[in-house]
Subunit: 458 residues, 2 copies
Amino acid sequence: MLEPIALPLDLPELAVDLSGGLVRRSVHPSGLRVLTEFMPGARSAAIGFWVGVGSRDEQSERGDAPGSLGSTHFLEHLLFKGTPTRDAYSIATSFDRIGAEHNALTAKEYTCYYAKVRDADLEGAVTVLADMVANSVLDPEEFENERGVILEEIAMAADDLTDVANERFFEEVMGDHPLGRPIGGSPETINQAQRGDVDRHYRDQYDPSTLVVTAAGAVDHDKLLEQVLTALNFSPEERWHTDRTATPVRRELRTDLTAIPHRDSEAARVAVTERPSEQINLMIGTPGLRSGDPRRFAFGIMNAVLGGGMSSRLFQEIREKRGLAYTAYSFGASYSDAGLFGMYAGTAPEKAAEVVELSRIELQKIADSGITEEEHERALGQIAGSTALALEDSDTRMGRLARSELGSGELFDLDTSLERFRAVTAEDIRSIAAELAAAPTTVVAVGDTSRSTLSATE
Amino acid sequence: MLEPIALPLDLPELAVDLSGGLVRRSVHPSGLRVLTEFMPGARSAAIGFWVGVGSRDEQSERGDAPGSLGSTHFLEHLLFKGTPTRDAYSIATSFDRIGAEHNALTAKEYTCYYAKVRDADLEGAVTVLADMVANSVLDPEEFENERGVILEEIAMAADDLTDVANERFFEEVMGDHPLGRPIGGSPETINQAQRGDVDRHYRDQYDPSTLVVTAAGAVDHDKLLEQVLTALNFSPEERWHTDRTATPVRRELRTDLTAIPHRDSEAARVAVTERPSEQINLMIGTPGLRSGDPRRFAFGIMNAVLGGGMSSRLFQEIREKRGLAYTAYSFGASYSDAGLFGMYAGTAPEKAAEVVELSRIELQKIADSGITEEEHERALGQIAGSTALALEDSDTRMGRLARSELGSGELFDLDTSLERFRAVTAEDIRSIAAELAAAPTTVVAVGDTSRSTLSATE
């Protein structure tokens, strides 16, 4: 049933405006890519070293070593633990003494090491981040210590019922697709992890061809190129070029979740995780859109109206009219070959079945009758306003550059993006809701389900 | 034992630079204050309507009505539910259709209604926020519905063990001081709440003399004054003035927690909340500094070194050397008449006693020997860098204006603030640590304490 498809991805030509715009992209002969976005007036910059490898890519190249599940995240931790010229304390102090906002994150399709710093501190941040990414020693003693830290991180997430519901939702909707696995592994795989697994992952996956450096804010592209070359010990002789060809992702894709199945609606499958709690955390959803899906603009508008704000239908029906929840919203998550769509609410156990029903009804209403013109207009205004506000942050722009480069390859300016949203028709919106409403629905319920009328089904 | 002290507060003269600076302050004859900070180049603005009344002020003027506990927060919810000219849906859509970031928050000493919007949308946001704050109808049907929403909000917080630990910590350290109470009340008080309690609170407390409007970013002070007058239906004839005298807070103060008691150190008192969990959430601390305490600059440096970053002593000892926690930090919280100091870590139940011991040892080490020169320098750099980054956000500046106006009355620019930090001596730092280390220590432990060696003491 699951067919890996051939590489490379059929990426559209990069939409980055290289001709005098504020976004610039350079490709090094090694494959390393650097993208910057200069923001006039900015006095700080956000910089990220992005590796196009995430938890879903584990195991794909080296068979079944259970201890390797979670190795991407384990590696992310270890990269803070030292290089031949910097120990862990020195890495920590180099960020702290400039008051940098810095951290790292492991996602399903990438890993990122980033910092936000005052303009004068940018070169220092580049130097340390490059050293961490390129020259980690993965010290064996630090390995054992970090195992404990990661087990505590997993324990912390296990105590957060919203986190638990989110992980369960991916597992239930994605099934055995690699996107269904938890990013950090499990206590079992972390306890089994061997330094060799993580080291092999580092040697195999961290090389210039998977590395993307992005920066936004008070950044000079040419200066940054020099700083990156120096920091990575590359020869200054090799010339950067501005090749517009996207670099294909080295990844086995599985498209079995990409298309939303067109089936008759049926009773939702319910997956229950019993925990003592005051609220049940509910996630209700289906497979959704992959990153490059042309229907994503229609989905964006549909999602805003369904569950994207205080005036959205889910918020109004569940919270404002009935007082059943404090939080109620809908969302989409898209990856290179698959995605998912979900509706979330936290509610009293006795009300959980009603909230599930209300959520499904609201989706079905849009599937049947679409949205009103007033809602359509409002959603466009909401997307325009919130996007404009988000793009004021250098962190947002830095992340957008990288996710574009590592994902679809598309990078729209605000106006072009809004044009795409404005081109969506009422029928496009109704149609995407209809596809989602017709897809097999999964309900994840985490909490004290003994007090609810929800029960697990297969 | 508890003595209310006389009003007004002994506030220092406002340090706001009114002479051509970027911060401007105007006082209306009604008592309403408006403060703005223009940020060159900004294309958006953050605006807040702040009422100088928080959960601690409940009951003080009208005796013991148990249903009134939580009424400040209840009122905050109801202000979104409609005015004579705007129903709840209209309020929601007016923010959503411009993609505003908007919300409200109730704190112990203030309540705030805010929005961040594109520059062109500022006037509209002012109009709606002013109407919400000045003309709420507190509809009885909406009152009942919102009771359900608030009970769900409290249930959500009860499922979050970090939130539970935080509330317990205030209760245990503050005792029967009004700052010790949970902001939102309890399920019992919310179930008992009567519309009359909330309505009385609204009539008594929400008037121009407690209202402060602050804005930062793309804002023109004079235009905003006009917009605020129009939105609040004030006569355009009454003249604003720039009185530099701080407006005293109308609040019964209780200074019994203000001074850190100079007692011999003793065994910590342990307050246990048993919950099924993977981790124990630990908070370890003492009474701390009130808002205007002159030792706050020394405390800021001490706190940065003790638990303010990856290179801090708590993070190094608990996480980096021993792998006992994912999160470990220290903090201070200051209010007009009292404050507290705490150290937080989430750890496995079997390790909880060790983490408590390690935390107390690290504080004691600074109390005994101070910090190193390198740490002192680094903390100054950390404060300078992180403050500069934070002040890039209009939200931060908007909030800073209001908290200054409603609190100490002091507002320093970055350079002046850093001068204060630089004036701190090594002995000031050691001394504040010594006072905290000598104060009676409270340990709050939330989680599966049956697996730990911690047990409750009195």
